[in-house]
């Protein structure tokens, strides 16, 4: 892992000129002898390859190496990015090797994983990288064969000129290609001509993952490195006393250091540190406010009832609309803090030497890691290298660099290479959670059941703006007011997969279900009527594409047989987030007096589906994630510390709790948008609405499993 990427950096040619688009102009390469070896190691390929641009190297053997710049945490970017390059190159996918690129801001732009943004950001530039390389390869063949370039065809890595019956693989032209200048602009393929995009290309790391190769940050090892674990304070507390006598006696513990508000234990392997951490006696005292869940519940009620919110959007005259209403519907929804809990706990490696530093590990934001280290060490960022390992999940937790900072500080303090390791308990207790939020919704209906007024007040703990004021149903209601209020807490929060909307979507879609039923309307029809208003008489700014939202709603109704079978109790939900549209229907069937959640139908419009397997993974995975946390996820606090310490009390969804998920796409033809997040937000609402349809119980708080209204409903989950 470590050596391979470093070797590639050292052994290859320099890039003479690049742009953010990855275009490479002019080559500077190593020797080009071409050994006749059937299967070359990636190192061997790289040693003789020509780098066409930031993303692409081709060896004289015809072997291709494609660099994937963005961190891979399970969103499949390391497979789908290279597919885009290979598509426009007309490469033989079997000849492609993929390498995770290190942080390189000179070559790559937006080298991060977050916001489901990689695909929309790179859709064009990656294809251009392939297309420009193809252009110079074709030009090289034209020159060598002395034929017009327009008569040359490329298929599956073979360049051919039919009339002269000449053909050769890419590798035969890389030397000539190196003398050419890549064009700035080149025509990209019509999507109907795609051969690789749209196919179920398998995860490029399958063989290494399934044989247990060292891919992840926690697997990284460097001779002479120290392991470190850290005792961190409860939120709002500071260290009062430290008794490390017993901990120091544990064999394998090298040193225990108090720094800032933490106690670090270093040694040469992990287990002694875990034991020492348990033997460590640290007492704390308040350092500001120390909060518990009861405090939060009180704070929420106060925020909603008494505190003036920041108005995010105001359309029409809400006061008058509610005065004129024939019926008013009011409901409040609340969600708890959640931990990201990726399977691989936080960890990072740092080696600080003089005014230089080497960082290696799982980060969603390598540039933030570097800037953080530069800030701590007071050295220029260009003196710091960042190698990105595979991430054992992220869910937003690894957007932060707190664990990077720890590794850097400890490497500097110990003057040694250090890998910081968080235990699962550290991971659950160490902060940066999904913020807890409470919403108050109010809807005004006229005599015909039309929604003439809509109010939303979001109250969050370290949530920032807990609303999405320009998202549906904004634009569809003439009189609307959206505001938010925030409580600042010592409990730290961070983006958690589909930030804010991971809960807002559930609350809103459940509330709209309540309003539809109060209006005496079918929930799907009610949404379509609102969208009809948004289309034909819109109010104010609209962030979503009305037609695309209608498209997923109608397709989901059709695919799920919405309302067709009275024995199937269904819940509907639809949400636009991260540029994609997802509608979901949950099906509950009564079996022997027990409501059984059998199926969730999902219809997604993410534009062109780059890789159906990867897309299905993200949709199913997002739904499983959304369902698991809606049903079970709960992080409560007592005196500044989470009550849940590990997976025995912090429940994650398991195999037997997963219904069938039926996945469909709307073929809208738009450029692809990301899928890491958009399938998650609608799930809680679809399930809650189905539970209401089946049992008459409205679940207005998560997790469902812990709600009073749910306690006597023995919801079973079985696949159809």
């Amino acid at each position: 892992m470590a050596t391979r990427n470093k070797a590639s950096r050292r052994d290859f040619l320099k890039i003479a000129g690049t742009t953010a688009g990855g275009l490479f102009i002019g080559f500077n390469w190593m020797s080009c002898d071409s050994p006749k070896v059937e299967v070359l190691s990636t190192e061997a390929i790289l040693a003789q390859a020509q780098r066409f641009n930031g993303y692409l190297s081709i060896a004289p053997t015809g072997d291709i190496v494609i660099y994937s710049p963005n961190p891979e945490l399970g969103q499949n970017i390391k497979t789908s990015f290279p597919m885009l390059v290979a598509e426009e190159l007309d490469a033989d996918w079997k000849k492609v090797r993929v390498l995770q690129a290190n942080l390189d801001t000179q070559v790559f732009d937006r080298q991060l994983t977050g916001g489901s943004g990689a695909m929309p950001h790179s859709w064009e530039r990656l294809r251009k990288a392939g297309a420009t390389a193809r252009f110079v390869l074709v030009a090289s063949a034209a020159k060598l064969w002395n034929v017009p370039a327009e008569e040359i065809t490329v298929e599956n890595g073979i360049i051919s000129h039919k009339a002269s019956r000449k053909s050769g693989h890419f590798g035969e032209f890389v030397t000539e290609a190196a003398t050419m200048t890549a064009p700035e602009e080149v025509k990209l393929k019509d999507p109907k001509d795609f051969k690789i995009i749209g196919t179920a290309v398998k995860n490029v790391d399958n063989a290494e993952i399934f044989t247990g190769k060292p891919l992840f940050g926690l697997d990284f090892y460097r001779e002479g490195m120290l392991h470190a674990m850290i005792q961190r304070p409860p939120f709002g507390m500071k260290i009062k006393s430290v008794d490390d006598a017993a901990a120091k006696k544990i064999a394998g513990v090298q040193d225990i250091m108090i720094y800032e508000n933490s106690v670090a234990i270093v040694g040469t392997s992990t287990w002694p540190l875990m034991k020492a951490k348990r033997a460590l006696k640290v007492t704390y005292e308040p350092d500001g406010t120390v909060e518990s869940t009861e405090d939060h519940n009180r704070i929420f009620k106060d925020m909603i009832a008494n505190q003036k919110g920041e108005v995010r959007r105001e359309d029409g005259d809400v006061t008058q609309a509610f005065k004129n209403a024939a019926k008013v519907v009011v409901a409040e929804y609340q969600c708890p803090f959640l931990s990201h809990s990726p399977m691989e706990p936080m960890n990072f490696f740092a080696h600080v030497t003089g005014d230089k530093a080497e960082l290696i590990g799982p980060t969603q934001t390598p540039e933030r890691a570097r800037q953080t280290a530069a800030g701590i060490l007071g050295i220029p960022p260009e003196n710091i290298t960042v190698e990105i390992t595979r991430l054992g999940g992220g869910f937003g937790r690894r957007l932060a660099a707190d664990f990077v900072a720890e590794a850097v500080q400890l490497s500097r303090m110990t003057n040694a290479p250090v890998k910081v390791i968080w235990s699962r308990e550290d991971d659950l207790n160490g902060g940066l959670y999904r913020p807890a939020v409470r919403y108050r919704f109010e809807a005004a209906l006229d005599e015909s059941g039309n929604m003439i007024g809509y109010k939303l007040k979001g109250a969050g703990i370290n949530s920032g703006n807990s609303t999405r004021q320009d998202n549906f149903p904004s634009g569809a209601v003439a009189n609307l007011k959206i505001e938010s209020v925030e409580h600042k807490s010592p409990i730290t929060t961070n983006a958690w997969r589909a930030p804010i909307t991971n809960f807002l979507a559930y609350a809103e879609q459940s509330f709209l279900d309540e309003v539809a039923l109060e209006a005496g309307k079918d929930p799907v029809q009610f949404r379509l009527e609102l969208l009809d208003k948004a289309k034909n008489s819109p109010t104010g700014k609209i962030e979503y594409d009305v037609d695309r939202m209608i498209g997923v709603i109608k397709t989901a109704a059709e695919k799920s047989n919405w309302g067709k079978d009275p024995a199937v109790k269904q819940g509907f939900s639809v949400y636009f987030s991260h540029r994609s549209y997802v509608a979901q229907v949950a099906d509950i069937v009564q079996e022997g007096g027990t409501p059984v959640l059998k199926k969730i139908t999902a219809v997604t419009d993410c534009g062109i589906v780059v890789n159906p397997t990867g897309a299905n993974h993200q949709v199913r995975g997002g739904i499983v994630d959304g369902m698991g946390h809606a049903m079970y996820g709960n992080l409560t606090f007592k005196d500044g510390l989470p009550t849940q310490k590990n997976f025995d009390t912090y429940k994650l969804i398991r195999m037997k709790e997963v219904p069938e998920v039926d996945v469909h796409y709307v073929d809208s033809g738009f450029d692809p948008t990301g899928l890491g997040e958009p399938a998650l937000p609608p799930t809680g609402g679809a399930i809650a609405n189905a539970i209401f349809a089946a049992t008459g119980r409205r679940l207005r708080s998560q997790p469902f499993n812990e709600q009073e209204e749910f306690s006597d409903i023995k919801l079973a989950i079985r696949r159809a």
């Binding site: 399934f210 993974h617 199913r620 969804i653």
Partner: protein, 152 residues
């Protein structure tokens, strides 16, 4: 510290560790076998699953001193070429998202199929319920176990 002789992946390995060290950390920190993963450390998630005499165990809670007589198999020893039927099925079904839990899933599935070569889907669900996948690849895991049963 104690010098202990272990049988791991068909080989004799001597380690010098505290007797209470869980097998997981001996594998990862002392023998460089990092395919066995740490995630919870309390036998809740299954990421650390290895075989003891063919049975799936949680290596995170198993003291290494309790394994002296036992044949231990880790993911690195499940097959020579990564071509155990379960590994083949995992690749064919393209199971992984982040991939971190998958070696534990594979080891659990392999031990399960050794005992039950023609499982029903419900039996697969029961057997695989002891492993958590935070990415939610459960549908694929289920499909891959069923496929592996056919390949076995």
């Amino acid at each position: 510290m104690a010098k202990l002789n272990l049988r791991i992946n068909g080989q004799s390995r001597e380690v010098d560790v505290e007797e209470d060290t869980p097998l997981l950390w001996v594998l990862r920190d002392h023998l460089g076998l990092v395919g066995t993963k740490y995630s919870c450390g309390i036998a809740q998630c299954g990421a650390c699953t290895v075989h003891r005499n063919g049975e799936a165990i949680f290596s995170c809670i198993t003291p290494v001193s309790s394994l002296i007589e036992d044949e231990i198999t880790t993911i690195e020893g499940l097959s020579e070429e990564g071509d155990h039927p379960v590994q083949k099925a995992w690749a064919e079904v393209d199971v992984a998202q982040c991939g971190y839990c998958q070696t534990g899933q594979i080891m659990n599935a392999a031990a399960f199929l050794n005992k039950n070569s023609a499982p029903s889907m419900d039996e697969i669900d029961d057997a695989m319920n002891r492993n958590i996948c935070r990415c939610g690849t459960y549908h694929k895991i289920r499909e891959a176990v069923a496929m592996a049963a056919k390949l076995t």
